[in-house]
Amino acid sequence: MLQYLFRRLLIAIPSLLGISVILFTVLALAPGDPFEELATNPAIPPEVRMALRASLGIDDPVHIRYFRWLTAMLQGNWGFSFVSRVDVDQLILQRLPVTLVVIGLSQVLALAIALPVGIMAATRPYSIFDQVANTLAFVGFSLPTFFTGLLLILLFSIHLDWLPFVYRAQIDASGWQWWWQHIKQSIMPIMVLGLFQGAAWTRFVRSAVLDVVRLDYVTTARAKGIPERRVINRHVVRNALIPVVTLVALQMPAVFGGAIVTEQIFRVPGIGSLLISAVLANDTPVIMAVTFVFACLVIFFNLLADVIYGWLDPRISYN
């Protein structure tokens, strides 16, 4: 086991290096620079922009910039944003709580929908409930989040005027009022993300349970006279959930990565909106840091999923 872990971690190093090289080159090849806005402003002489570029080291060759970035990163220095001149790790940490709450809750919501609905649908295949659940699930994951987001805003904010559609991370209230306002403004983004994810997972849980429910040992359990409820919970769901756990684990990096589109629509100050504004401003250190952290998380959770898989299913060994 330990040997396996060690081997996987060793393999992760070259892949992370490869990812960072690709990211860095793509960013270096992309047109534009963080001082584009200065270029069209006649009040700022071009020399000033040139001096700024030089002072931030943007004019150096790509490979030199890459190694500078890499050595700094290895020493734990993530660099600073060209645009805000703030350390990148600070920027990311500022955004983390909101991202974890909003995206995390949406994943919880997705699970809370997908598990019961998927299991119910699978235990009564082709019943009315199953048909309705299937239809809704298809509708749910066919509608992109930017569309459902706008739809919810139109309905709940503009026509009914119930919910605000501009998210405010800091609220001047205390006690239950503070909670209430936070809940009110988070409902829509959480719903949009949760329902989308939930719809996809419902389909997945259904098919996983359906695979298991037909197996002989389930029939045996039923034949022994074990109550149906217990058969489902103990014998079917436990086994069916193994692939679901993997899927959910692989989804976890996304919780940290934020949701770019939804955050933009509701103005949620999460990591997704940090990334998109950095991309638009050609703010290389921020883009590098966010995407690199994201890559690390994907690799880490992949490993975690594999380990959990073996723990849930003892038939899998790591030799």
């Binding site: 534009g32 200065l38 000033v48 001149r85 703030v86 920027l91 559609f165 405010r168 800091q170 100050p269």
Partner: protein, 598 residues
């Protein structure tokens, strides 16, 4: 009417034998607009322009106005005005920091930390144009209680021009010399006579930061100053919190140096999202008081306004959407460089073709069907402030006239309907950035040109490429490897000197200057060059205005530049919000004067 008559009349206004109103009326009879006439009085010292430039402030006590909530669809990322790359950051710094003076909507200066605007009359301006003396307001305190003085002003000059600091504002400070006269007087000295003296310490780039908090960071460690993110200024609001890229909050400054100001107890500037939903949050749901820069179709804005909660503000500035007809040949390579200044364009070198091109764009249709209130048609390149507006230019849309012109010049239609002469076909590549109104304008132009036997090949380039300064990319607007191109150019100050340098011969965009030159159309005209040189050192404001008007007439008259529509700034606000906006300065340039009618 000549310059002498004008002078005599202004003299009569000054000594009282002619009323200001009478002067304006006479000028109107001569075809000069009222704002232009008023400004002529103002700049020659005979008018009280400052009193008119900012609307009256009614509240009779400080505070009590509740919260002011502002939406920006671009979020601010830092709060040091010397590092502010774009308008968003300049604006959010402006909530806390103030310059000596700001630019009012009519293009005149309005004092903020200055006791008065320097002029020849009050001795602030030297007669030779080599220095300007600013008297500072007394009794101004920084938010932390320290006194504001001339040392702070001088420090900003030192800080900005320090190369190690890498300040974005250094362009305004590196060529001037600032001297402390006494604790409340500062003199800015210029190497040459400088008629446009109001750059250093004025408006967005003139916001002043406190010496006592920044002096330890005047160097390569400038990034480490804690005050970069926790500003301590002199402004009407004190800092309360800031999340870069998201939200900025401030609270009333109880020691603000202007009476009864500010009106609001707190201010909140929320960033991010998109312009359409920002417009909705103000005009439709009324959740926010003010939404910045609403680049939204006018039809939609009108529909939102119908909710009767808010209104759209159109503020005139100098921005203009225009077409350039290349002077050089983009298809011939000289020393590995296309559009080389030694070449001439095979078709556009014929004035008849250029004139026909100018006749073929229907500006009325652009205004009516594409830009709405956000793009009034214009015949001038230099449109504002009114004192610089040329009355001589007219525009016309006539396909018939264009056809006649081309026929007369010998451009004959071929079998495919496209005109040609001496193997030169009137077939042009017309490029612009990807942007819905621009693509629609291209289509309108193409259709009309077709009817005159000119074929336009439309090309659109992603904005981030088109407007980049990437030397390796052939599609940037500064390279201009096309026959014609279209974009908007903006005027950052109420003075046209940095705007009209776009057509002087020494600013040509070439490979030698990495295409950084401002003269992108590569036009060369000796009279224009001479006029610009004299405007650079002409101290007399009336003569100088006449020079800029002449420059406008020269470049527009050449038809190498075809002005289309003006681009005023469009914003949205609640009906009861009384704000003070200006097209020549940031949104918050007079935030201390904002209040709410109840």
């Amino acid at each position: 009417m000549g310059e002498d008559d004008l002078r005599q009349m202004i003299g009569r206004v000054k000594n009282g034998s002619l009323s200001r109103r009478g002067f304006v009326r006479r000028m109107a009879a001569l075809g000069l607009t009222a704002p232009m006439a008023t400004q002529l009085l103002a700049i020659s010292g005979a008018g009280s322009a400052q009193a008119q430039s900012v609307p009256a402030y009614r509240p009779t006590r400080r505070g009590g106005g509740g919260a002011l909530k502002v939406l920006y669809w671009q979020a601010s990322t830092l709060l040091n005005p010397h590092f502010a790359v774009g308008t968003t950051n300049q604006d959010s710094s402006r909530v806390f920091y103030e310059p000596l003076a700001g630019w009012a909507a009519d293009g005149t200066l309005h004092p903020i930390l200055a006791a008065e605007i320097p002029s020849l009359e009050n001795g602030g301006l030297s007669a030779d144009g080599r220095s300007v003396t600013w008297k500072l307001k007394r009794g101004v305190k920084w938010h932390d209680g320290q006194d504001f003085s001339a040392d702070d002003v001088i420090f900003n000059w030192e800080y900005s021009r320090n190369a190690a600091v890498a300040a974005v504002t250094s362009g305004s400070y590196r060529d001037v010399n600032a001297v402390k006269v006494d604790d409340h007087t500062v003199r800015v000295e210029f190497a040459q006579p400088t008629p446009f003296w109001a750059d250093a310490f004025v408006a967005a780039t003139g916001q002043l930061i406190p010496k006592h908090l920044f002096q330890a960071f005047n160097g390569a460690n400038s990034r480490d100053a804690p005050t970069n993110l926790r500003p301590v200024g002199t402004g009407p609001y004190r800092f309360s919190s800031f999340l870069p890229g998201d939200m900025l909050r401030g609270e009333l400054n109880p020691n603000y140096h202007m009476n009864n100001r500010p009106f609001f107890d707190t201010i909140e500037v929320k960033g991010g999202g998109d312009a359409v939903s920002a417009a909705r949050a103000v005009l439709q749901t009324g959740d926010y008081d003010y939404a910045w820069n609403l680049q939204v179709e006018d039809d939609l804005l009108k529909r939102l306004e119908a909710a009767n909660r808010g209104r759209v503000n159109i503020v005139e500035g100098g921005g203009i959407e225009f077409v350039q007809l290349n002077v050089t040949d983009p298809n011939r390579e000289v020393d590995g460089e296309r559009s080389h200044i030694s070449t001439t364009h095979p078709a556009f070198s014929d004035p008849a073709v250029r004139q026909a091109m100018a006749l073929l764009i229907d500006r009325n249709a652009l205004e009516q069907f594409i830009y709405g209130r956000g793009g009034p048609a214009t015949a001038n390149f230099l449109n504002n402030p009114p004192r610089f507006t040329s009355p001589n230019m007219r525009w016309e849309f006539s396909i018939q006239k264009a056809n006649e012109l081309l026929d007369a010049a010998g451009w004959v239609r071929g079998r495919d309907g496209i005109r040609a002469k001496n193997n030169v076909r009137l077939r042009f590549i017309y490029q612009t950035s990807v942007n819905a109104p621009r693509q629609r304008t291209q289509a309108v132009y193409k259709q009309a040109a077709q009817r005159a036997g000119i074929d336009l090949e439309l090309k659109s380039v992603t904005a981030s490429v088109f407007f980049s300064s990437d030397v390796a990319n052939p599609d940037t607007f500064t390279k201009f490897y096309a026959d014609m191109q279209m974009y908007t150019t903006t005027m950052p100050q109420a003075d046209p000197q940095r705007f009209m340098n776009q057509y002087v011969s020494w600013e040509m965009s070439t490979r030698a200057n990495s295409w950084q030159g401002r003269n992108i159309v590569r036009w060369k005209n000796d009279e224009y060059d001479a006029a610009f040189r004299s405007a650079e050192s002409e101290i007399d404001p009336i003569k100088r205005a006449a020079l800029f008007i002449r420059m406008n007439d020269l470049i527009v008259g050449s038809n190498h530049i075809i002005p289309l529509v003006k681009r005023p700034t469009v914003s949205g606000s609640l009906n009861n919000l009384r704000h003070v906006l200006s097209g020549w300065d940031g949104t918050f340039w007079a935030i201390q004067d904002w209040w709410r009618e109840t």
